[in-house]
């Protein structure tokens, strides 16, 4: 799309509970800046049943705060003239449960996995993954398809010219189940077929009458190649045409926007991919919400997204406890806590999800649960963000010894350059150091990693803006969206606590002034914070002992210049993975020490 000249942009994200509007204006210096923000409850449900009510309410709040007249009754004023109107209105949406999909593929670890990646990349929640070899009997598969009510199905299977029977069999199961869409009684379920081209005719015969069938390019034309873009594009088009058209008020909203409404996670993913591409760096992002946690990664140009549907900080908080286990949550809590009391508190948050911690101890408990939710979501991400499985590789002798195989995770924390945190528990943590420490504890970065948080959750808005005007999106992203927290330096390796780990020289510069350099040796088991402001830079030289590696190899020195942030430079020698003593008193003493060094709770 040709970039449009824009001076005033209004963007909304219609979330499941809140509709958030932001105003972006070009100032006299010619810079795009996010200037005002408004929010209102989302109104897709009774008694309103019209998403545009919430949109109008959020825009009214922006009007009140900015003094700009945006609305003329229920209409958005175009174009902008002085303090009246806007040049463009754009939106994302995850209201009403977002985009819920069922995916199916011939082989679980190959085409089914590729289909899952295509759906997740387009911003969907994957309800289930069906495969010929998923261990379920045919009648169980059919019962499952029928019991789910997805917004659409993505069916894949076979490389071009490969197996026909398996994918046709899956199509027959879908036809037999006769699944009904989640929204709307009057339309037939959209099914996208993105499998073996040789099976297209058979698929049309089986599904053509029972579903609204779309055929796109095969997502796995050969074992060695994955071609997700056409299927992702089709999913996003159908999200607009079918799913959103059934949701209350979206018909009207569709007419207001100038570019297609994007699913919220799809827009965030688009932005993260754009940043990685633009700066030629590896980027990861996480968005931890009330019900779900999304993780995005872009390593060496390969983008992946996963959504952990039941890991979140309010609606799903009890599931975090169920999946992580009480001991894993309690290991982050530095005070005595009755287990039954903790379980009751968590369940009470589940049934009253909009409440917030009032006391410091309640905050510590919620942040302990967040660490576990993030850790579990990251584990799931690593399992799906993998190289293609089933690819024939010629093994060398060294491969045989190291047991490398196809399907290895693409997530290499040592290669990660930038990590962005988003979602209430990270963006709105009372101290930025709390957000930074939660991210470090859960994701355990290695080497030198920059960390940042999304200031007010505007990545979705900027993702959809990037599809209209990349420059504007980039400028606002850098200047208003990202809050740099600092840099984490962490070595790979293990040794007993107290053993020598590394030697560090830090020379902080603030403009032309240089602070006295800090030179110290740090043993294993510590986390040290060197406060730096946003404007400061530091020359950092790290020399690990021979058991540790900070990016250049074991025992090799790394020198880098790092930018400051709201927290500063962190040197983390606690080892990877983090380990905890079994003795409760020792464990509490250890984490109290970490929290004090990091100044997270006082």
């Amino acid at each position: 799309m040709e970039e449009k000249e824009l001076n005033v942009i209004i963007a909304t994200d219609c979330g499941s509970t809140t509709t958030k509007a932001i105003l972006i204006e070009k100032n006299e210096k010619g810079e795009y800046r996010q200037t005002f923000r408004g929010e209102a409850p989302t109104t897709v449900e009774e008694p309103y049943n019209d998403v545009t009510r919430g949109v109008l309410n959020s825009l009214q709040e922006v009007e009140e705060l900015s003094g700009r007249k945006i609305l003329d009754g229920d209409k958005i004023i175009h174009p902008a003239r002085g303090k009246v109107g806007v040049d463009i209105y754009i939106s994302t949406s995850s209201a009403g449960g977002g985009l819920q999909m069922l995916v199916a593929g011939a082989v679980k670890a190959m085409t089914a996995e590729s289909a899952q990646r295509a759906a997740l990349g387009a911003g969907a929640i994957v309800m289930d993954v069906l495969a010929s070899n998923d261990g379920r009997l045919p009648h169980q598969k059919i019962a499952r398809i029928r019991s789910l009510r997805p917004d659409m199905i993505l069916l894949s299977g076979g490389t071009d010219g490969g197996t026909v029977t398996h994918v046709v069999e899956l199509a027959e199961f879908i036809a037999a189940a006769d699944p009904r869409p989640r929204l709307g009684h009057t339309y037939t379920l959209p099914v996208i077929y993105a499998g073996n081209t040789a099976a297209q005719e058979n698929i049309r015969k089986v599904l053509g009458k029972k579903t609204t069938l779309y055929v796109t390019d095969n997502i796995r034309p050969t074992l060695e190649r994955e071609n997700l873009f056409p299927a992702r594009q089709k999913i996003q088009d159908l999200f607009m045409e079918h799913v959103m058209a059934q949701a209350p008020g979206y018909g009207k909203l569709k007419e207001w926007v100038e570019v297609s409404i994007m699913p919220t996670p799809g827009a965030v993913g688009y932005l993260i991919h754009a940043v990685a591409e633009e700066e030629h760096i590896n980027v990861m992002g996480v968005d931890i919400g009330g019900a779900t946690t999304d993780i995005f990664s872009d390593f060496d140009g390969i983008f992946n997204r996963t959504v952990s549907a039941n890991l979140g900080m309010s609606y799903s908080i009890s599931n975090v406890l169920a999946e992580a286990g009480l001991d894993n949550v309690l290991r982050w809590v530095p005070f005595d806590m009755d287990e039954d009391d903790l379980a009751n508190r968590i369940k009470n948050k589940m049934i009253r999800p909009t409440t917030i911690p009032h006391t410091k101890n309640e905050l510590i408990i919620e942040q302990a649960l967040a660490r576990e939710a993030l850790r579990l979501a990251f584990e799931q991400h690593k399992l799906l963000a993998v190289g293609l499985k089933g690819v024939q590789r010629i093994r060398s002798v060294s491969d045989t010894f190291t047991q490398t195989a196809s399907g290895e995770t693409l997530v290499d924390m040592m290669k990660l350059n930038l990590f962005i945190g988003s979602g209430g528990i990270l963006s709105h943590a009372p101290r930025r150091s709390q957000a930074m420490m939660m991210m470090i504890d859960s994701f355990q970065p290695l080497g030198f990693t920059r960390l940042a948080v999304d200031s007010i959750f505007m990545m979705p808005h900027l993702g959809v803006l990037a599809s209209v005007n990349k420059a504007a999106a980039k400028e606002v992203f850098e200047k208003d969206c990202l809050i740099p927290l600092g840099t984490c330096v962490a070595p790979k390796g293990a040794a007993k606590p107290g053993a020598p780990c590394l030697h560090v020289k830090i020379h902080i510069h603030s403009g032309d002034k240089a602070k006295p350099p800090v030179t110290e040796s740090i043993p294993v088991g510590e986390i040290r914070l060197y406060p730096m402001t946003l404007e400061e830079k530091a020359e950092v030289e790290v020399t690990p002992t021979r058991r540790f590696d900070v990016g250049a190899g074991f025992g090799r020195t790394v020198k880098k210049v790092v930018q400051g942030g709201r927290v500063g430079l962190v040197v983390d020698t606690r080892g990877r993975p983090l380990t905890f003593p079994d003795n409760v008193a020792q464990r509490r003493k250890m984490i109290c020490g970490w929290y004090q060094s990091f100044k997270v709770y006082d």
């Binding site: 499941s16 509970t17 809140t18 929010e39 209102a40 409850p41 989302t42 897709v44 449900e45 309410n57 709040e61 209201a95 009403g96 449960g97 045919p138 009648h139 059919i142 019962a143 029928r146 026909v164 029977t165 046709v168 069999e169 027959e172 036809a175 037999a176 009904r180 058979n202 019900a291 039941n310 609606y315 009890s318 599931n319 406890l321 169920a322 999946e323 039954d340 009391d341 379980a343 009751n344 508190r345 968590i346 369940k347 009470n348 589940m350 049934i351 009253r352 999800p353 909009t354 409440t355 917030i356 911690p357 009032h358 006391t359 410091k360 309640e362 905050l363 709105h428 009372p430 101290r431």
Partner: protein, 379 residues
């Protein structure tokens, strides 16, 4: 500014509720507008497609998929009976002993014969499902072929959380005050078929006895997370409930732990002791919140006087409103809203949030709490 508060649970002495009761797919409607219905009465029924089974005829007969039609004895759409031959191979050398016959696994219909996969799909006869009125009342309107809206004059009480589905029975108080714990001795054999009203808590052991005795439902202030796990047999991750296979529906009015039932709720239930009620444990705490319900049916004069309740949800919370604090350190305390400062205020966590000042009913103390941690008591 957007209202930042949690709408409270409804505890309404007299109202008229409307229950929309619809089939998942179109079927036969069995009531007319204006008709009186009882809670247990079936108002609509339909047939839904039943389970399907695949039979790999290609493998069983050792033929190729393309040949399948030549060996089939039934066509798509044909009815079959259990054990009836549906396909057979050609006899070898004319000897039937060597012939393979494929038989139908159950009564049903041949849905598909695939010449691509060589499979035959047989579907069981449709399953009948019906919906009941759930409340005693009058049919207000109907959706032809789908269901009806039933109007019911009643006392209406929402719980905060429940498990178990819809049921009906006579209310029976087993606790004398809202802070009392339901003991094993409180559960008697004669309570079979009744809905028990308890105080602050019921343990797993006592709830199990209620289930064994045949109690239809238990309404109580608090229930512990540990006991919930014991009842369900698993840790509940997301609060979407109502389909549990348990004989006794549980409705919790306040929350998890030992929590005295709000006096207003307890008094209202006690006032209705001995009357017939419909209850449902269905809870869904996601977009489209659904809370468990207690509906105590009216009749005669009482029904004639009942008026639909106008909710104040649109107007937001106001000074003088009765409130309940729903988070530690004052969890469960009731009070009156006395101040709504407009500015952000720093709380103990160091967060800057909108707060409100509440005068606690029991001690008279004035406490500052985040607005998000307070719910209005709907009256």
């Amino acid at each position: 500014m957007a209202n930042v508060f949690t709408p409270g649970l409804q505890v309404i002495a007299s109202t008229v509720v409307e229950k929309e009761r619809t089939l998942p797919i179109p079927g036969r409607l069995m009531v007319k507008p204006g008709e009186r219905v009882r809670a247990e009465q079936v108002i609509a029924e339909t047939e839904i497609p039943n389970d399907i089974q695949t039979i790999n005829v290609m493998n069983l007969l050792s033929i190729s998929a393309k040949e399948i039609h030549r060996f089939m004895m039934k066509k798509e759409g044909d009815a079959v009976q259990a054990n009836e031959p549906i396909a057979q191979s050609k006899p070898i050398l004319g000897i039937k002993f060597f012939q393979t016959i494929v038989r139908a696994p159950f009564d049903g219909t041949v849905e598909r014969i695939s010449d691509v996969t060589g499979q035959v799909l047989i579907r069981k006869p449709p399953r009948r499902i019906s919906i009941m009125a759930f409340v005693d009342g009058t049919v207000k309107s109907v959706r032809e072929g789908l269901g009806a809206t039933i109007e019911c004059p009643c006392t209406f009480i929402q719980g905060i959380f429940g498990i178990g589905g819809e049921t009906y029975g006579e209310l029976c108080a087993v606790s004398k005050d809202p802070s009392a714990v339901v003991n094993e001795s409180d559960i008697k054999e004669e309570y079979a078929g009744k809905i028990l009203i308890g105080g602050s808590n019921i343990s797993y052991r006592v709830f199990k006895k209620a289930m064994d005795v045949g109690v239809k439902g238990v309404i109580v202030g608090g229930f512990s997370a540990k006991d919930l796990k014991a009842v369900l047999g698993y840790e509940l991750g997301v609060a979407v409930t109502g389909d549990e296979d348990i004989p006794t529906t549980l409705i919790v009015t306040e929350g998890f732990g030992r929590m005295a039932m709000a006096k207003r709720t307890f008094d209202l239930l006690l006032k209705n002791n001995g009357r017939r009620a419909s209850i449902s444990g269905h809870t869904q705490i996601r977009a489209g919140v659904m809370r468990p319900e207690i509906i105590i049916h009216f009749s005669g004069d009482e029904a004639a006087k009942a008026m639909p309740h106008a909710t104040k949800a649109e107007s937001g919370i106001m000074l003088g409103d009765e409130t309940r604090i729903i988070r530690e350190p004052y969890f469960g305390r009731l009070g009156t809203l006395i101040e709504l400062p407009p500015d952000l205020t720093q709380i103990e966590t160091e967060s800057h949030v909108r707060i409100m000042k509440v005068k606690l009913s029991d001690t008279g103390e004035v406490v500052t709490v985040p607005r998000a941690n307070v719910e209005r008591i709907e009256v």
